[in-house]
């Protein structure tokens, strides 16, 4: 049977419009890039005739194409939003819409891995309450899908789930499952859910651990999917909110001011060939299960093995099967959080870089639509452009050094009457600089105008606050861009060399970056900038002034990284009404609920004086937690005598010396054994009070 036998929805009217628009986009980016490259050629001392200058022109041309893509996407989005009345917007009802079936069930998935259970609990509670407000008889089930390897987190999650089901009266509606083996990470987690329970549901909405969506938005997503049965994936544009550090607030501001325009622009060019970002999206379960299972790539990581950035590939496979993938750019009520500091952002980027570079191996896959091939390349260029920028700087530096040390030839080989003076005309350089600046900054001006035209200035703190925030964001992003460039270049280089990257848990709290960490990560870049700048000052001072913004940004990397990670600095900017977002001015009810619940949890006194994060100790000491944990295990199994003896030895060790002598793997092994965890619980309570207090932290009056 052909792989594509089920491509039943191929001939849709929007495809011709999308194809015309993309040809136009191609012309809009390639032609100016050729003109810019030609201008650059005239700018260079040897008019592009040397190998070095040809390399500079080539790299510059590619980078110009890349920044032009962003520019035209922003302009297309501006035009879409200003004009309104977009006939392809998915929220618009159409005459050929299918009827809405009232009895479809939707699963909301929370794939988690060693995240903060308190925050997850607050988020789930807020989403559930929001759904209840819209429709008390809603047909959504919530599934917490855990891949947590930390035994303490495992127990905390079980407690969290139990508290949620009892406090929200949601038994049989909120579920918890922890995978014993973490196969294929998040995509494998979702696939495992699909295999076990997917047949119960028509749709599933995938969340991240920090995602929030309002009940109204969730209900509207289901209605759209019901009306448009050809849609396989419908992606919302999440608004970033919830953080207090300076860098996070700046990103939240940028996301809220520029984001809607860029997303509308992406929708304009891609229409039903859009991409899936892995969360805050609704998916049609049946075709997802039939067509979007991910294989392993041959070879070893980082470019082989499990597909790490699974979302892009899943949307390409869904489209290959004939279902469309749309961006619901006009739907609000979808939120997520950004990393709290620069180091966490770079950690996250390292994973995404590896995942995106893997897509190079999928670009030529048979049956993938051209739009998705372009999106794969777009993802590669998101990080590859940093390496190209680094290459351009290196080549330009080499050119500057060569021109500085080489003696000019006044009389070429062919006989001439007059000498040839090396004269440099600054105007082409200034024109090129101006064009690049226009491409980079005009979209920001358009976004500002859009906010004023739409009457949203109050949601950003007012007219002057909005202008001030844009200026401050430009300054901050100018300072951070070279730092990001350096790191992304390193990531691309290491990944292409075959050096893999772990997929660790992200830090999602607002703790500041310590000086030691900042120095360790940024010290190398600052040293490089010092050497580079120093060399250029002595060899070619004119060139130094052209690169001075980059040099000073890299020299200031350590203090910028530290200051921007502080919540106090972010709050200071907020008092100055800078980087204000609509969610800060008018907090959504869901975030108010989250905040209230986290406050309530912080005042709660734990039983027996045990801290909430001591999951393993609570499972051993607290009778309720012990019973819950044993109820969730599969039941007693007969064990090989060697395994039974090993586990008995672990029990004896823990009782003799305290829980701290057990490694996380040993604790996990005991937690899997209902008989031994019960035995440990009984024998713990027979220990002297002094031992209980000192070794286990158990207090009777707690």
């Amino acid at each position: 049977m052909s792989t594509f036998a089920s491509r039943e929805y191929l001939h849709m009217p929007w495809r011709r419009v999308a194809a015309r628009r993309r040809w136009l986009l191609l012309a809009l980016v390639v032609l100016p890039a050729l003109a810019a490259a030609h201008t650059m050629r005239g700018l260079l001392p040897h008019s592009g005739t040397t190998a070095l200058e040809m390399a500079i022109i080539t790299v510059y041309g590619i980078l110009f194409v890349w920044i032009s893509l962003g520019f035209w996407t922003a302009l297309a989005g501006f035009w879409t939003l200003v004009r309104g009345n977009d006939r392809f917007a998915v929220t618009r009802p159409r005459p050929d819409d299918a009827p809405i079936r009232p009895h479809v069930r939707t699963a909301i998935l929370f794939p988690i891995c060693n995240e903060d259970p308190l925050r997850i609990q607050a988020g789930i509670r807020a989403v559930w309450r929001s759904l209840q407000r819209v429709d008390p008889n809603h047909r959504f089930d919530l599934h917490i899908l855990s891949d947590s390897s930390d035994p303490d987190r495992w127990v905390q999650e079980e407690i969290m789930w139990r508290e949620l089901t009892s406090s929200l009266e949601a038994e049989g509606r909120i579920f918890y499952r922890r995978r014993r083996i973490n196969l294929k990470r998040k995509s494998g987690n979702v696939a495992d859910f699909c295999r076990r329970y997917g047949a119960h549901y028509t749709y599933m909405v995938v969340f991240d651990a920090d995602s929030v969506m309002t009940g109204a938005t969730l209900v509207e997503l289901v209605r759209i999917m019901e009306r448009r049965r050809t849609i396989g994936i419908l992606q919302t544009a999440p608004a970033c909110t919830g953080r207090e550090t300076l860098i996070a607030r700046a990103q939240q501001f940028a996301n809220r001011l520029y984001g809607p325009m860029y997303v509308a622009g992406l929708h304009h060019w891609f229409l039903g060939d859009a991409q899936f970002w892995g969360h805050n999206a609704i998916i049609r379960v049946a075709p997802f299960m039939r067509h979007c299972a991910l294989p392993r790539l041959p070879g070893k990581p980082p470019l082989g093995g499990d597909i790490m950035s699974h979302d892009f590939v899943e949307s390409a496979l869904m489209r290959r099967a004939g279902y469309s993938v749309w961006l619901a750019y006009e739907l609000e009520g979808s939120y997520e959080e950004v990393p709290p500091n620069l180091l966490n952002e770079l950690k996250r980027d390292r994973r995404w870089c590896q995942g995106n570079l893997q897509h190079l191996r999928l670009v030529f896959t048979r049956g993938i639509f051209p739009g998705h091939r372009a999106l794969f390349l777009n993802g590669v260029m998101s990080y590859g452009s940093a390496l190209l920028w680094f290459a351009l700087l290196a080549l330009s530096t080499a050119e500057a050094v060569v021109e500085a040390v080489r003696t000019p030839r006044y009389f070429p080989a062919t006989k001439t009457l007059f000498p040839s003076w090396p004269v440099w005309d600054p105007w082409p350089a200034l024109i090129l600089l101006g064009a690049t600046a226009a491409i980079l900054f005009l979209p920001k001006i358009c976004a500002l105008l859009l906010a004023l035209l739409q009457g949203r200035r109050r949601l950003f703190g007012g007219f002057f606050a909005l202008w001030g925030s844009v200026l401050a964001e430009v300054i901050l992003s100018t300072l951070l861009a070279p730092i990001r460039m350096l790191f992304h270049s390193k990531y691309v280089f290491l990944t292409l060399l075959g050096r893999g990257i772990g997929w660790g848990t992200q830090q999602r709290d607002d703790h500041g970056t310590p000086f030691r960490d900042a120095l360790r990560f940024h010290g190398g870049g600052s040293l490089l900038a010092m050497l580079w700048g120093g060399a250029m000052v002595s060899i070619n001072p004119t060139f130094f002034w052209w690169i001075s913004p980059l040099v000073f940004s890299l020299l200031l990397a350590v203090p910028v990284s530290m200051l921007s990670s502080r919540a106090e600095v972010g709050q200071l900017f907020r008092r100055l009404r800078l980087f204000c977002t609509p969610e800060e001015i008018q907090p959504p009810q869901e975030y108010q609920d989250i905040e209230a619940h986290l406050q309530a949890l912080s005042h709660r006194r734990p039983r027996f004086g045990l801290p909430p994060e001591a999951g393993f100790i609570r499972a051993v000491a607290d009778p309720q937690v012990n019973l819950l944990h044993r109820a969730l295990l599969r039941g007693h199994r007969s064990l090989h005598p060697a395994i039974a003896a090993r586990r008995d030895a672990l029990v004896e060790r823990a009782l003799a010396n305290g829980p701290h002598v057990l490694s996380p793997l040993e604790r996990e092994e005991l937690l899997f054994d209902p008989q031994r965890i019960e035995q440990l619980h009984h024998r713990l309570w027979q220990l002297p009070e002094e031992t209980l207090r000192k070794e286990w932290g158990v207090q009777f009056d707690g």
């Binding site: 038994e171 049989g172 997917g198 048979r366 049956g367 607290d622």
Partner: protein, 138 residues
């Protein structure tokens, strides 16, 4: 207080702390605590630590007759389905070469292993001889 009372008080404190966390009705908690203390009193005198340990042992024996494991529904009914990856065919040019190259390869093989091979070699030989001016005339 005499040592028996001290031991009973310590055991009672531990029993109360433990039973507060057990999911049973309040009256049942007190009944179990009282019964356990009465049984413990019959075994005294014991040092305080030993008395507390023995009290817990008696309590666990009493609790074993209760069904305490909570009813939990961690997931809906299992409805197992398959989710298999479709063929990706990441290198379509390899299939193209295989699809079109195979017949050409087979044809060449047939020529090499058939009498046509001898004929072609003879023609080649005659051409070489003709080039060298040594071709036989007929």
């Amino acid at each position: 207080m005499n040592p028996t009372e001290v031991a009973l008080e310590a055991a009672g404190r531990r029993l109360a702390a433990y039973l507060r966390a057990v999911p049973i009705p309040e009256t049942r908690r007190h009944e179990l605590a009282l019964r356990t203390l009465r049984r413990l009193a019959m075994e005294l005198p014991l040092p305080p630590d030993a008395a507390q340990a023995r009290a817990m042992e008696l309590l666990f024996d009493a609790l074993s007759r209760h069904v305490l494991l909570p009813e939990v529904q961690p997931g809906p009914m299992l409805l197992r389905r398959h989710m298999r990856p479709e063929p990706m065919d990441r290198r379509p040019w390899v299939r193209f070469v295989q699809r079109h190259g195979t017949p050409v390869f087979l044809l060449l093989t047939w020529i090499v292993y058939s009498a046509w091979n001898d004929l072609l070699l003879l023609i080649l030989l005659l051409l070489i001889l003709h080039t060298l001016g040594l071709a036989p005339t007929f």
